[in-house]
Symmetry: C2
Subunit: 591 residues, 2 copies
Amino acid sequence: MTLYAAPLDDMRFAFYDLLGGDAVLARLPGGEALSRELIDAVLNEAARFNEQVLAPLNQKGDAEGCHFDRDTASVRTPQGFREAYAQYVDGGWAGLTAPETYGGQGLPHSIGALVKEMIDSANLAWGTYPLLSQGATDALLAHGEDWQREAFLKPIVEGRWTGTMCLTEPQAGSDLGLLKTRAEPGENGTYRITGTKIFITAGEHDFTENIVHLVLARLPNAPAGSRGISMFIVPKFKVDRDGAMGERNAAACGAIEHKMGLKGSATCVMNFDGAEGYLIGQPHKGLMAMFTMMNAARLAVGIQGLSLIERAYQNSLAYCRERLQMRALSGAVAPDKAADPIIVHPDVRRMLLTQRAFAEGGRALALYAALQSDIEERSEDADERARAGEVLGFLIPICKALLTEAAVECTYHALQTYGGHGYIAEHGIEQFARDARITTLYEGTTGIQALDLLGRKVMQLQGAGLKHVLGDIAAFCQQHAGDEALGTFVGPLAVHTKTWSDLTQELGKRAQDDPDEIGAAAVDYLFYSGYIVLAWLWARTVATLDASSLDAETRSEKRDTARFYFQRILPRTHTHLAAMQSGLAGLPVVR
Amino acid sequence: MTLYAAPLDDMRFAFYDLLGGDAVLARLPGGEALSRELIDAVLNEAARFNEQVLAPLNQKGDAEGCHFDRDTASVRTPQGFREAYAQYVDGGWAGLTAPETYGGQGLPHSIGALVKEMIDSANLAWGTYPLLSQGATDALLAHGEDWQREAFLKPIVEGRWTGTMCLTEPQAGSDLGLLKTRAEPGENGTYRITGTKIFITAGEHDFTENIVHLVLARLPNAPAGSRGISMFIVPKFKVDRDGAMGERNAAACGAIEHKMGLKGSATCVMNFDGAEGYLIGQPHKGLMAMFTMMNAARLAVGIQGLSLIERAYQNSLAYCRERLQMRALSGAVAPDKAADPIIVHPDVRRMLLTQRAFAEGGRALALYAALQSDIEERSEDADERARAGEVLGFLIPICKALLTEAAVECTYHALQTYGGHGYIAEHGIEQFARDARITTLYEGTTGIQALDLLGRKVMQLQGAGLKHVLGDIAAFCQQHAGDEALGTFVGPLAVHTKTWSDLTQELGKRAQDDPDEIGAAAVDYLFYSGYIVLAWLWARTVATLDASSLDAETRSEKRDTARFYFQRILPRTHTHLAAMQSGLAGLPVVR
């Protein structure tokens, strides 16, 4: 079985010491109740639940997968998943970050992000079921009428029902403007929804008595394309305006997908055959409503990536300490043993340090973004809210794409450290590599994130978020300009930041000549930006260490990892820069 | 079902036009018979067999996998595999490159490499069964006594039996010096072999009536470590010195592994319980005997990588031409359709061109190495043989590691172009990603290849192979120094080659201070070297185009791909160089 121990020390370091998360929350409305004692208690309890309940189900869930019964259109989740969900609900985790008005605990997103990381490390497939409830919660909060919130939100927050997001159709993936599902007005303000949705995570399962689908569809005479899409609430069992559950709705799972990984998560084909639903939000504004939920969903997938990096790293590290093969080139390190542990080999350390740099750096990045989201939601200062929103909008595609691509890379390294044993299912490490592979695809592929970053956030929105981040990095560099211990970090960081800024200008000019230049540079720009943001967070880490709660050995490891990051990861920017400089001309038309 | 059409045009371009393979073979003994007509006929027939017989079994073989029956210790291969093998034997493919003396066709390794690429593209899992016969053939040819060749080699060459290589044990993977399997002298010059081997590809199957295991084991009182290992022939059914098959031997499959991919290939635990065998080669020289076969085996795995790149690319390209999502940023390209094919997006082209650059460049690299192997084996000039052997020894770890790592990368890109559909088993593309994942592990991990390259081939052997390659590249650059059409290629190539040479000197000096510096640089050095070698082959490609048989459009595509390679792939050397320059100090001890 694979190991998992929640990295509580590093979580606390990142949250308290590095980002001052408790101080940030304390000055936001409602934050006075959020003491370190409370936060620590939540984290400790989450660690216990995830280590003991969810983690042991992960490998078994992958081996067993979900089973679809065609006759009853029902899905049986892997053994133990349903019971674990009941424990999750009993523990009050379902409504952790939901408003108290609807039965939630009202905790901030940053605390939710830490708990989410643990859930996904413990059992990513299981974690997709409550994740989709989160999306439905956000949608109902932002766009639902009062009665819709009363009828649908409360049972979701209580964990009695779960939610889904029904967007994709066979011909409409990244391009939702192509979707065809129809909504016809019915009786009593209801609509009849007809169409087929695919890739619906948690579209059917055996956790709860009802499932609330949020479905994108077209009203009669809706404009073509993305401006003609509306959002509907379509429950599995009909629900009246008083919240009473009625008969089975014509919304049923038609099949589940056989996938590369994430096998414990039911990925459903959903058939809506005149299913009864309610319009949520304004007609034809469904896509815009979706976008308001997208930050949370994309950050959540970035955290999925982080969570796999963390768990794969823990296992890889343990294996490299134990596995004896060959002697260190510079002479035996464990002469009393048949061979040295493979951790003595510098190349094995390279693979481990890469994982550690992304696990700890990625955690800082995800938490930093989650804190911006708390500020945006809770601050009483409109300027501060706006600034946090701009920073968040800029960081979201980076969090999503960089952390998921890093998950693919790091689970590759973890598997590689096992040698041939890594390829064998029994060791459990190959599951992490398979599970990781979905994260760069769903909630917008890496290419889509990159277009969002460079095309929308940087070019269309005049780079407001970028400017804040550049300003923050410049301020950091200036603050520590004379700090000798930080010299090897601040210098390269300042140089990179200057190049980043110049490059952005240059790309803007090129895009005026040909908008396709954006597409030619976008993915490289995203990585380039992401590596610099991570470098900033690693430099901040070093600057924070002396005043932190970490023990001397851990501080020294952090310094080592920061140095490794600057020497061995950050230079990837050279390659991305060269690629961007070659421009669109280097990507000729392919037959 | 996934597509596969053998890339015959590009194979012929690489073999005839780029590398002058027919001319090279023609001047080697026996080469006069190898006309283009003959070679083309072999390739055409191989294409037919692989496209029609093996390719359609690939996806089904993955879904079905191998089944182990504990009661009979037997393995049932996926439906159709056994029949396909019978057709393969009937077609005369089993002995394609084996000596005519033993019933083979005596074709050179370079032709074998082209056929091997097709087999592995068509069905990598199936291809592992005959691959292991190749290893046994090489071992028997190089080290077998006359009667051993008569008794064991002929049936293998005829395809009536297959071979295996039994090296790995649970505690002995990369470090074979740790192996424990024992061999006790028995009657009539036989030995009794006792021990457990793991990860034995094709250790048991239903293709043939007998299986010939080549087993590494220790004789009584053998020296400890790698100097005390001998090699034994241990057949599944006993074989006497006259070649007659007798009773069942005590060599049996105990289990098969459940793996991430390559599911149609039986990966066996083999239990030897006093099994009867014969010593092959000298006592205690088994590991050296293994090493003489390693070039062929490692090149074969490099070709496995290439083969997956090719097939995944073909499918990715077809999908990108057909899949309609969104409009080009610069305006609709297919206004009559609901959306543009995704191939219009520059970032999609980046993913396709990356695959194409490695498929075509990798083919040139693998063929170049295979031709060196033909020269080493067949030339009548001892100096030429020695030179070819040195170049081959240098190129083998690059072929193996670079092409398999590129396979992991390129199957990643292929899957990514499918979006979420890529994650679904039905499309068949995720199988390529799972199958590719083994290739960086077996026959020596990437880390082991890198130590072989930098530690052994460059440092210990004074870099003889490197010097030849550097000399050939310098000669190419000089020859084309004034060629304007090649200016954008020859300039950067010359600069890179100079840096490569200086870097090698620098690493040599550092290694004198601390041998661990080799381990700290090795993997980066391998990639660095590999990217320059591929750049050379791409520059040679451009230099060759005008006189080639390719049509104008394909020539233009080749030029585009070469430019793409130089602009977007070759700059990866910057990152590897920076990593190497940071040295061992950047890879601190990890707890």
